[in-house]
Subunit: 310 residues, 2 copies
């Protein structure tokens, strides 16, 4: 069994690849909820939705978020009423938020709601949030303390980040699926998908026992670098690294995951870093990590599985 930890778009792509090359019972996907938030009275779980829509093949390939073929009648009507429109909620997407919110308010856990939605979307592997408790990534910036989506969507990551805080993480319990996967004797490897280390993966590592459990595993923990040639394919990972005082590079990724990682997967573009990484004691796998289409996703997934002999 493979446990994959994923955040947004990059994570969802590799998760999709893994889901297509592994039998369903051999894959557990655990997703960041640090960027969940309440919007218009609805509980929105952007990373869970991105992973869910990708796995269901319902994702919008242009935007990276939301549902393909979406319509925006709700949003247009809301705008005419003077409502908040900075976070786009499509007509179909909205059904997920309304239904999830209703069930959370009725007392179901986010894990239970996620499993139920996954079933409705015909998603076969186990899909779970990192926690059923509230963890909120807070971005401390030159414009003050910002809620994550305020920073990420409304302000387009423009403020300069000084510090990240995973509020609630120290008091939150890892979800049962995450705890059980980490303790499962069938576990063959953990894959940390190419998601933003600070925004997508760090909230998971900040949960009690998770970072230590990953470090103590006797199966490989494989990190796919989201930084290629000093740039992030999507999102603010490289900008964030700079603002937090690091060089945007796979080397910084290696440093970030050092205590938990066995193998760093880097793109062929970064092949020149292999010897530097080796000097730092980091074992590398070099392959094409850019996932432009389904074949790329499956190809990368197969490379990782080959590495661990699965």
């Amino acid at each position: 069994m493979i446990l994959a930890l994923a955040g947004g778009v990059g994570g969802a792509k590799l998760a999709s690849g893994l889901a297509r090359v592994l039998p369903p019972e051999a894959l557990t996907l655990v997703v960041n909820t640090g960027d969940d938030f309440e919007h218009l009275g609805l509980h929105v779980s952007p990373d869970l939705d991105t992973v869910m829509y990708n796995l269901a093949g319902r994702h919008n390939r242009e935007t990276g978020w939301g549902v393909a073929g979406e319509t925006w009648h709700f949003m247009t009507a809301l705008e005419q009423l003077g409502g908040d429109t900075w976070f786009k909620l499509g007509d179909r997407d909205l059904a997920v938020h309304v239904e999830r919110t209703r069930r959370l308010r009725a007392g179901e856990t986010l894990s239970a709601v996620t499993a139920s939605l996954a079933l409705r979307f015909c998603i076969a592997p186990r899909l779970a949030p990192m926690s059923d408790d509230v963890v909120r990534t807070i971005v401390h910036t030159d414009k003050g303390e910002l809620e994550f989506q305020d920073y990420f969507v409304r302000r387009r990551c423009e403020p300069v980040v000084r510090r990240l805080e995973y509020r609630g993480a120290a008091q939150a319990a890892p979800s049962r699926v995450l705890r059980e996967a980490l303790a499962d004797p069938r576990l063959r490897a953990v894959v940390i998908c190419p998601s933003n280390p600070y925004l997508s993966v760090a909230p998971m590592l900040a949960l009690p026992t998770v970072r230590a459990s990953l470090g103590a595993l006797d199966v490989p923990v494989i990190v796919v670098s989201p930084i290629i040639g000093g740039r992030a394919l999507k999102g603010p990972a490289a900008k964030l690294m700079s603002e937090l005082g690091h060089t945007p590079s796979a080397l910084t990724v290696a440093e970030f995951y050092r205590d938990v990682m066995d193998t760093l997967v880097i793109d062929t573009e970064d092949e020149s870093l292999v010897s530097v990484l080796a000097d730092l004691g980091v074992s590398c796998q070099v392959t094409s990590t850019i996932m432009r289409n389904d074949a790329d996703q499956e190809g990368l997934a197969r490379q990782l599985l080959n590495r661990i002999g699965a």
Copy 2:
């Protein structure tokens, strides 16, 4: 100034007629909220919405509820997720419910939210709920105690009604707009629109002081009968009358409003009732009350205004 009390479709039609023949400052519309309910975590005010959409010319003329040219992508997606779909929420309509709910949760009154929505829909006359407090019409039936929309929409008014209860009405305050209109020295008449007496108007009359205030007014209170030839044009008014032990007839309407009413407006089809009503001390106005189009709405509104010399 005319105060019009309205419930659903019939009420909304006459309200629209009045709005088109009166200057905005000369009309105050107060709407039933006894059929408001929480659905999918949203506060839904069906009668306020029907009146609002009608006055804005945005109403769906086929269904009598909702917005013209509506789409149903949200509803279809919700159905695929296994959500509740017995109460239809269109993509555009949903924006009203989400925005209203958000603002109510933020502490605004229903009156304030209604006024703000009315402004956005370019509705000129004053539009207000009967109360900012929670009043819920409960239908006691042969199938047990039912919430109003459960009875009305989900069960299509099929259960046999034994008793109606306006839960919370005795403790609810009439809205400021309603109180001020009833006390306004400029008030020339009150029009009770052709809405269901038991379901749409009775909740308003059940609010403290409202029934007594109407009875004590020295300006005419004009009731437009929603029953024509023993039938209701729309909805369960006639069925309800029978189940509550009355003959479906304008005579029953007259009986229901006896203590508050000065004039009963009946349809030409019911002209034969004039003498019976006169024997009961009820003053009648006979005219065509069926409103098939805008011209009919305006025609009926003008008839009423002529009667009071406005």
